[in-house]
Symmetry: C2
Subunit: 657 residues, 2 copies
């Protein structure tokens, strides 16, 4: 952002703060639903600081302007944000937001936050810490950034409310009435009068509806209240102006679901009324990730308590049913076809001396994915990072950063598609002329070794991802290298590409139920050389019982199943070749080579016939070449002395006889 | 314990509970210093339930009698405790103590705990949970088990107060006055008026004194108060009757330390007086592991607050200085000599048909360690588990359980020594006739693979142990096997063999500062086949900077140091051969074979000359045989076709010419 705009926006916010007696104002990424990806109407932190991306919290006082973000965005921050005005606070290294506020805010001062943009579980500890230091935390319902935008003549865009998309049971595998029955049962089992769903993907999953309100995530702005205290009209949807179109009504009817619809904006008034009308001692069940604003409304009757847990829908939807899993696998076959076509095309262009930029790659990939059955667009903004751009972990090419891809570039391509039957997310790193430097070759190989060690792990059912993550880092750690992001995230079924509550990172995620069959995770270690190149290898893996393991060639047969607890592992569902020409085969064990060769044989056997059937012979030929088996260093080592000694020996024999 | 004794003791406790209106009484393992190993005077849970061992909490109500313990003691529980009277509660599987109390104690009832036996950090959450359910948690200062013991004519033994042992700076590397200066500085930096040390090893470390009040742990019953608000007489030791012997006085004087000594029992009165005399707003710094009783005394003046952290001494002493590290290494050489002699002796006896029992092994090992320089007895009760006894994770042979070791037995021998210059802890598993079953052979090998994968890890400085632990389990997990205990613990310098606050387990230990050079850990994966055998391989490892790595043959040269954070790894200091005859060499990678051969060469090169110098030729010969390099399966595979084909080829050449 240019300096003048940056200063003007910051000043506008400070003026509103001054007028409302707020000494510090916190601007998180989240919208009212704690969404990771947000609509333009909610992109307040980006408007203010210039930093785009899915993680970051801005803090403004009259003297300071700071942005906290994580390792994925450190490099991006330097590029997007005017660092003369804004200070980067590195999460995990610098003071935390809470520590900064405690050290810097004087007694009696007031910190403001829009309570729709902050979860209750984040609000309470911050409030306690500030109170201990005699600093007040105030919910500011009229968002200060929105007011500042109006003041500078750049009013935020209206909140979208696009048409809803019914998703048939052929894709979801379970009708909405069945999901709601289970939720009602769980609500009654917890002695709660109502369950309030606030996460957009929870609501989409429960009703088997999708939307387009937020880029990449097929969700719609809504709240859903499921009341266990009522016998009829006990499912209340807050959406748009409160009127469903006939196709959506028909879909819900066909699924046996009766929904009462009210306008989106009425949720707070409704919760306050409901709270007042409940018997003293009643409880309302909310997700831990519900906003402070939702909690305040539900608690407006002090005789009613709230019950706060991981959302029960989050726990339901992270374990995919067999229809969803079938869809995931099918989507990955189509996605593999599109990606193979794209990769061959990029190589052809660059080798042919055609100017291809990162944005060209993004467009071409969108087009190729769009040709696949049930395609619904990308699942996130494609990261096509060539050369130094590859080292920006969550890079997204823009006209300002776009580069022509060079023969000597590495290209990190992280992309995914939404399909009605599933969601994909895959990263492949390609060296355009297949002649990386030795350092690149070794890092490329070590990242792949990490991916394989995690992908082939066998572990007790219910193990949490944090216990496994080291496996993905080990080969890099062995030589003092690392990457500044987590290793795996859950993936929704034609839903958000990042889905909780499980993950594969260094820290135990609170509410993580542990890994069980039917979950989908990414497996994506990387290595980034700032200013030079980035490497990431990412596949999606399905969690399966160990007795179905196909990829698990490292184990020489199971002899136990963890005392009855059950053994689980991963099966890779992403289908696209790794660039074996970039490998340092010496660094691979025979088992790793066998694994890679098996994987490539499967990729060719699955995608090859489709390419042939579509008469895409050039793509087929390219894929066949890329999937060719590699030979182990040990085999070469074995072969060479054998040949030499044999010859010497035979000469000696020859001389003697 | 026989049924009659068991019932009589339980009845006696219930009678005292009845008389004092306590509905449930909790009996933890801990003494007033949260010690893991305790003196007989504090062994209340064992007296009551029969369960010995370092972990377990008994709970008695008029109807129920339960013991919570962890996986190490499940098998032991079945053997030692009358299960018709007591119920085993498996930690991590069954309800927690808190959950059980919340579900079972009626409103208005009272749970009692001796506040000297429960830490503040455990007390507060339990108290809150119980209060939410209208159950009262009462500190019962006059311990109910002690009173019951008097009532049945079995009064607890007196608390020991054995002579103190000065430890010279030649062993400690740092005089006590220097340690106290640093603690005073830290106390002032935290704006606290006083630091109260309650952990016995913290006090021993600070004053460079040792004791013999508790078996195996060379500590003495004491409290230490260091006052930042006083200029003189600001170090107050509560010990015995308050009178130091001249040698101890001389030692402290020589170290420049002035200590005021008071009787041990006066600590509570002193803290109450000190609290009253401090200015309002003052703070007293206590360890998080201080007892509820200590906190209550320090907080008797409500205008004084307590500051609760991991003990600063714990953070000091877990990083060993160079003199301590030198001592550790030297102690491990001596310990290796003793263990090699013992192992050869056991094999000789069993092979020769001599009846040797587990207790004979314990006695012989004590005797052999006793011959080593600066020896101070075992560092814990030797676990000599032959055959099925090996599967009892923290087994300790007794006359009741003792077994004659058979030619077909596996013997799990986990033992350690205290030396003035260091503490050891090592486990070797031996098959008496070196002819294990295939299942034993594979498990033996996989446990060793796990130990090696952890021992050779390279990782960023400050990584916590929980991040690394999976490495030790991986080879077992690959085939569905596991072990029900943690993988590594810190070790004190001529102090407690289990030393916090760092560890290598599945969970992040609260207050864990992360792994840095100078720390000492155990590396001890295992596998246990209940009713048949147990396998554990344990070494102590020193944390070193990666550029000093000697054992780290897995890495092909460091190319980074984690962006300046620094790379660290382990160096194995335990010195004793593994029984390579029990390995399934097919399961070992060439790197693992190289590691093992390097290790055995180092063991032989270090211990061999000592054995020879002492004219222990039979021991030397045995060690040399045990340390012989093993050959890889790959080498055999490589060799065989080479030989066959060479011969065929030469014959063909021979025929032709």
């Amino acid at each position: 952002m240019d300096r003048q705009t940056s200063l003007q926006r910051l000043e506008a916010v400070r003026e509103v703060m001054n007028a409302t007696n707020i000494d510090a104002f916190l601007v998180p990424t989240a919208d009212a639903h704690n969404s990771q990806y947000i609509a333009p109407s909610d992109a307040r932190r980006e408007w203010l600081s210039g930093l785009s991306g899915s993680s970051g919290t801005a803090l403004v006082t009259q003297r300071h302007a700071l942005v906290w973000t994580d390792g994925r965005y450190f490099t991006q921050f330097e590029i997007q944000v005017d660092t003369a005005i804004w200070t980067l606070m590195r999460q995990g290294t610098d003071l935390s937001i809470q520590e900064w506020l405690v050290r810097n805010m004087p007694e009696g001062s007031t910190v403001g936050i829009d309570p729709t943009t902050f979860t209750r579980s984040a609000w309470t500890p911050l409030q306690i810490a500030l109170l201990q230091n005699k600093v007040n935390l105030l919910p500011v319902e009229d968002n200060i950034v929105d007011r500042a935008r109006v003041n500078v003549g750049d009013a935020p865009p209206a909140r979208p409310s696009e048409p809803l998309i019914p998703l048939s049971v052929n894709f979801t595998g379970r009708v909405s009435s069945d999901k709601i029955s289970e939720l009602l049962e769980q609500t009654r089992a917890r002695d709660a009068s109502a369950l309030v769903l606030t996460a957009l993907d929870d609501i989409a999953y429960t009703l088997n509806l999708r939307g387009t309100d937020i880029p990449y995530n097929p969700v719609f702005f809504a709240y859903l209240v499921i009341r266990a205290d009522l016998q009829t009209d006990n499912v209340i949807l807050f959406w748009g102006d409160g009127n469903l179109t006939p196709d959506v009504q028909l879909h819900l009817e066909a699924e046996g679901t009766r929904v009462q619809v009210r306008p989106y904006t009425q949720i707070f008034a409704y919760l306050r009324d409901m709270s007042s009308s409940l018997q003293p001692g009643s409880a309302i069940w909310l997700s831990r990730d519900g906003s402070q604003a939702i909690y305040l409304a539900a608690e407006s009757n002090t005789a009613v308590s709230t019950l706060s847990t991981v959302s029960p829908v989050a726990l339901m939807k992270c374990v995919k049913n067999s229809i969803e899993l079938q869809g995931f696998r099918s989507a990955h076959v189509k996605d593999g076809v599109a990606l193979v076509r794209l990769l061959r095309w990029v190589h052809e262009q660059v080798e042919g001396g055609v100017n291809v930029t990162e944005l060209d790659v993004v467009d071409k990939l969108d087009k190729l994915r769009g040709e696949e059955d049930l395609s619904r667009g990308p699942s996130f903004a494609t990261i096509a990072g060539s050369g130094p751009n590859g080292a920006i972990i969550h890079y997204k090419p823009t006209p300002q950063t776009d580069r022509v891809i060079q023969m000597n570039d590495m290209l990190l391509l992280d992309s995914g598609g939404q399909y009605m039957d599933g969601t994909t997310d895959i990263t492949r790193t390609r060296h355009m002329s297949a002649s990386p430097s030795e350092a690149q070759r070794r890092a490329f190989t070590r990242v792949l070794k990490g991916q394989i060690l995690l992908a082939t792990a066998v572990f007790p059912r219910g193990t949490t991802g944090n216990i496994l993550e080291t496996l993905a880092r080990k080969a890099l750690w062995d030589v003092g290298l690392n990457y500044a992001h987590g290793t795996g995230h859950g993936v929704g079924h034609y839903l958000n590409v990042h889905e909780g509550p499980s993950g594969i990172g260094a820290a135990l995620m609170s509410g993580d139920p542990g890994i069980v069959p039917g979950m989908i995770f990414s497996d994506e270690p990387g290595y980034y050389q700032v200013g030079e190149y980035g490497i990431r290898h990412e596949d999606l893996v399905e969690v399966i019982e160990v007795n179905e393991l196909a990829d698990h060639i490292f184990a020489d047969g199971m002899v136990g199943n963890f005392d009855g607890r059950g053994a689980v592992g991963f099966h890779t569902i992403s289908l696209a070749p790794h660039q074996t020409a970039c490998l340092d085969v010496k660094l691979l064990s025979p088992d790793e080579i066998k694994y890679l060769n098996n994987y490539h044989a499967r990729v060719l056997a699955t995608l090859g016939p489709i390419l042939k059937a579509r008469n895409l012979q050039a793509d087929y030929d390219w894929l066949e070449k890329e999937c060719a088996p590699i030979r182990s260093a040990a085999m070469l080592v074995m072969a060479s002395p054998f040949l030499i000694v044999s010859v010497v020996y035979s000469l000696w024999f020859g001389a003697k006889y």
